[in-house]
Symmetry: C2
Subunit: 232 residues, 2 copies
Amino acid sequence: MGSEDALLPVEPAFLKSLRSHVYGLVRDAILSGKLKSGEKLNERQLAGNLGISTTPLKEALRVLEAEGLVRSEARRGIYVTFDPAQAEEMMLARAAIESMIARQAAKRVTAEQILRMRALLVEMRTGLETVDVLELIHLNEQFHNVIHEASGCAYLRRLQGGQNIYNHTARLSVLSEERERFLAVEEHEAIADAIAQRKPDLAEQRMRDHVIRSGEKHLIRVSQSEDQKDRA
Amino acid sequence: MGSEDALLPVEPAFLKSLRSHVYGLVRDAILSGKLKSGEKLNERQLAGNLGISTTPLKEALRVLEAEGLVRSEARRGIYVTFDPAQAEEMMLARAAIESMIARQAAKRVTAEQILRMRALLVEMRTGLETVDVLELIHLNEQFHNVIHEASGCAYLRRLQGGQNIYNHTARLSVLSEERERFLAVEEHEAIADAIAQRKPDLAEQRMRDHVIRSGEKHLIRVSQSEDQKDRA
DNA sequence: GGTCCATCGTTGATATATCAGATTTCAGAT
DNA sequence: ATCTGAAATCTGATATATCAACGATGGACC
């Protein structure tokens, strides 16, 4: 027990409960299209496939139902309800919430937070040249996190998180475009300026436009790759 | 079976599943303050008090957790997480989402829907004089429903519904103020105009300001009545 | 030939039992 | 008196069994 392994958390697989693990699996399956809209889910069968009992699965399905990804009809069945139209609406929801967060951030941002935003933007500019997309994604997340922190809105932040439907791969794909990387940084700078100048209306508007514009990009990308899969 | 009772739905108590019934009970208890923030919920005990097993209760608690009204710590406990700060954020979330809906409605509204909005506004004006608050509440709901319908945004509508934290009594209380009734109708007319003129930005801005203003009114009302309860 | 209804299988809803992590308690050592 | 740690206990997590509603099937009757 003198080995350094002793300090590692026990077993990653057991840190998450079965239900949250299963929740993640089913959610990804729906968002990635492995489970298509209208498809019926059988509790017993699904639990059996996953090698678990129905209890944690039922709880996971309730959460997915609350999120609007599945619809449950009593004693009839559970159906997947996620299609391109809903994906677009979820993007709009993200825009609405994220822009409200930006609005609040413009009211409450501290001098220190403004400095952190600025520092991140400088790093992004640098990252544009070195074309380290992974690093750019990380910087983007940090940037948005500073704004979230500045807003002081824990609930909105949480609600916002529920509207994320794209995985790491999709983000990587979109930011692999040179023009998109450039646009993103430009828009982030404009948002930071609005917040630093404490202009809530402007910050809100710029954030909304940014999320919608980059969101549409994602939607197009994904629908294209779906087409490819269908053709195959 | 010749009696007219035969036409009534079987037993109201059984139309809703236990879990959705319990979900409503616990949610109301949290929002009304009967269960205060930080309070610990015991699954066995709560299920026992309600005379049900833990299974439907667990599912209801998962939904409440997904909504952010409780927080579950594995094998430790379930805690209520709803306070005035979150109530305000939920109001802001409602403003963000409802204004995004109004924006979409301004893009897609039909001539027929504009006529329906106008007709409802006329009724509201009349209602102002007769001071039938119940009828006014109903008209307000119908008005917002027309906008929701015009937006064509089923998901946003659903998400919006989750941000409603005030019951019928609270709404009645706020609209019992003459000035509030007048303001509400004024604002609704302004929103309808923006949508009818198909000006998304204007509709969004007016809807946001309307929801925030009337929302603040609710927040003040409720915090006042909470103070009264505390004093008693 | 078509309609009606009884029956049975499917499936989610609910109840109950068991498992395992976390906290508390208290005896025993320092 | 304080600290340690093992046992008792509390509690959520999971598994399993049972219930009950919905729908499909098929035979009887008109």
